[in-house]
Assembly symmetry: C2
Homo-oligomer: 396 residues x 2
């Protein structure tokens, strides 16, 4: 008899963990591939102060067994209500990062073979999580106004004609990962109408909306929803620090209840939930977010200027916020071929196909301006430009 006999059928085939240490930026290279936060902006002293304050006032609550701190649930729900989303403490769930929520959603909704509609391109972590669940992923194109809702309608109609009711429409409507574009209000309304008409859950991943550099906020899809077809995801990763691993979801109560059931470890840590809530008090978090907006906006503009200067034949859509610039490469340049050449030139970028569920998009790369120091941005883009020119030259 073997131990492996005991595994469920689904578990017979091993697959590597979704998130591992292998997929990092290279050493001594300028790191534009991944959307890590800028470590120089982490509120170092405020964090230590918040830990000390929490332990001074509630050491038993913070360090013993117990649920997610209700005070953080209040903070989370209040941040949603400020955007017009009718969130309550009951239908708001704190998780270990919004990636945990993206990982749990298929456990509630997906049987193998079920269909999930994603943007093309989209967040590569979501693609990995959804694919792992056995879902079939169908992509809908994104243009400068966000997901193409005409194409979405066509896709929904075709799926219905084929007898398929998709389970999820996954969208990042604001400062989309990877394109940086923001979906217009009109499209948001139309997407919601289509979701309701076709009976599909909208998963609105709103990781970046707090980091707006310019322009006016657009209402979240969840704020337009009165029928209960949207779950809205947020995270403290971009506005405080990824390392605290805290995000939240709010949406239909029956769905939130089931996500909480699937979160087998229970709450999300009495200590860190108190520390983040402490930091969010007294306006410290909002002051910090204002600083981040300025900082990331300057870095974004530096990157756009460098692209214009160094890679004039590439095209981008100027983002109004977020972490990323999505670069359409000069004609004839393959992202897959470019990435190793760029690494040789001392810069890491993400190949477009990593962001498409169907592996297309080889004419794109994603550049993160979030992580590296502002002073390195020009040099990073210059190295990418040199890599592109060397690749073009090699093709002659």
């Amino acid at each position: 008899m073997q131990l492996s006999d005991l595994f469920t059928a689904r578990m017979r085939e091993a697959a590597p963990p979704l998130w591992g240490p292998g997929d990092a930026n290279g050493p001594d290279r300028i790191a534009l591939a991944f959307g890590d936060a800028d470590p120089t902006m982490f509120p170092h002293k405020d964090l230590i102060d918040a830990v000390a304050e929490v332990l001074a006032t509630d050491i038993d609550g913070a360090l013993n067994y117990g649920p997610t701190y209700p005070g953080l649930v209040r903070v989370a729900a209040e941040r949603l209500r400020q955007r017009g989303i009718s969130a309550t403490e009951q239908n708001t769930l704190i998780c270990y990062g919004s990636s945990q929520i993206i990982g749990l959603l298929p456990q509630v909704l997906i049987d193998p073979g079920d269909t999930i509609i994603v943007e093309a391109p989209t967040f590569l972590g979501a693609v990995m999580q959804f694919r792992r669940s056995g879902a079939r992923l169908v992509g809908v194109p994104v243009d400068a106004e966000g997901m193409d809702v005409d194409a979405l309608e066509t896709t929904l109609a075709e799926l219905r004609a084929a007898g398929v009711r998709p389970k999820i429409i996954y969208t990042i409507p604001t400062f989309q990962n990877p394109t940086g574009v923001t979906m217009s209000l009109e499209r948001r309304r139309r997407l919601l109408d289509l979701a309701i008409t076709y009976g599909v859950l909208v998963v609105e991943d709103d990781a970046y909306s707090d980091l707006r550099f310019r322009g006016d906020a657009v209402a979240p899809i969840a704020a337009l929803d009165t029928a209960g077809w949207v779950i809205h995801l947020r995270t403290f990763s971009k506005i405080f620090a990824p390392g605290v691993r805290l995000g939240w979801a709010s949406g239909p109560q029956a769905l939130i209840d089931r996500l909480a059931m699937c979160k087998v470890e229970g709450g999300s840590g009495p200590l860190m939930t108190r520390v983040v809530a402490q930091f969010a008090q007294d306006g410290r978090l909002d002051t910090h977010i204002a600083d981040l907006r300025t900082h990331y906006g300057e870095k974004c503009d530096l990157m756009l200027a460098a692209i214009t200067r160094e890679i004039p034949t590439a095209t981008t859509v100027r983002p109004d916020g977020g972490f990323f610039v999505w670069l359409r490469l000069p004609p004839g340049i393959s992202a897959t071929a470019l990435v190793p050449v760029a690494a040789q030139h001392g810069v890491d970028v993400l190949a477009g196909p990593r962001c498409f569920a169907d592996g297309s998009g080889d004419e794109y790369v994603r550049l993160a301006f979030s992580y590296i120091p502002a002073a390195q941005i020009g040099e990073g883009v210059a190295r990418l430009g040199a890599a592109i020119r060397s690749l073009a030259l090699a093709r002659l």
Copy 2:
């Protein structure tokens, strides 16, 4: 169309989350029901120092995206090797508390209707987790030497005769929750032999073994295992603080790999894993554990003396470590009837049936000496004694 149409069959029926704020000790009552740690023993200053040290030396690693800190994996594996378990950094997985591991194990191993063998009585959280997975739970009695391995053999033979190969034997061999008893070495060997013979995974939950007040350590079952049929679970909850939510598992690589796959959120927090590793350096953790042993040992003895004094007709097995005393009530007293009467008398205890998969055990209550101040133990047991006498009187 309704949102609930989208839920998988398994998710149609809602159930409350496993761990919620509802199941706490009552206000103004002496809290003997749950095994919370003693908050006066939390290493308050060391924890703040560790946070400051980590942020001073590795703020990017601690607060950005990233895996579980490899340094903590080293600490965890080394602590197992010190007990003779041949753990490596590859087959050691850090999770959000060992309760997360207990929650993930069924995802790898259990199809609805599969059988899990548990001790009778056992840890109520494990019963809840296993039952949620759709497993059928079969209890094997525990006596003063731990799980009755003769009864285990009979159970395994009967199940085999019925065509059932159980998936898991779940045991807490050292300072068992709730009985406090420790399985003898001979029984550990026999349990392992039976597991190998019948092809069943042993889940050895070793939450308490560091907290030995007296007597000599007994080898973990995992240290006896050369065939790869044991997964060993440990936790920082009892030796540092439950609120950091960190535990670990080590066992067969194929199983560890699959648990990591099911841990959809990835690592277990770059910040807290570094903070706990920092605290474990330089002998701080071991010094702290030595203090805890003395402290909890004194509290245990206070409780045993109070029981002898206040409830002389109850019987217990004297624990050599851990958090609990398991009390066999005087003849004719029902734990289920006693719990509300005890609450009226100002003391919370756990009714025995909460710890039995089949709901039996109404002649027992579990008393935790871990949480409350030493000075309250005598009064808590006295209140319980008064509650027992008032219940006995009411039956006359």
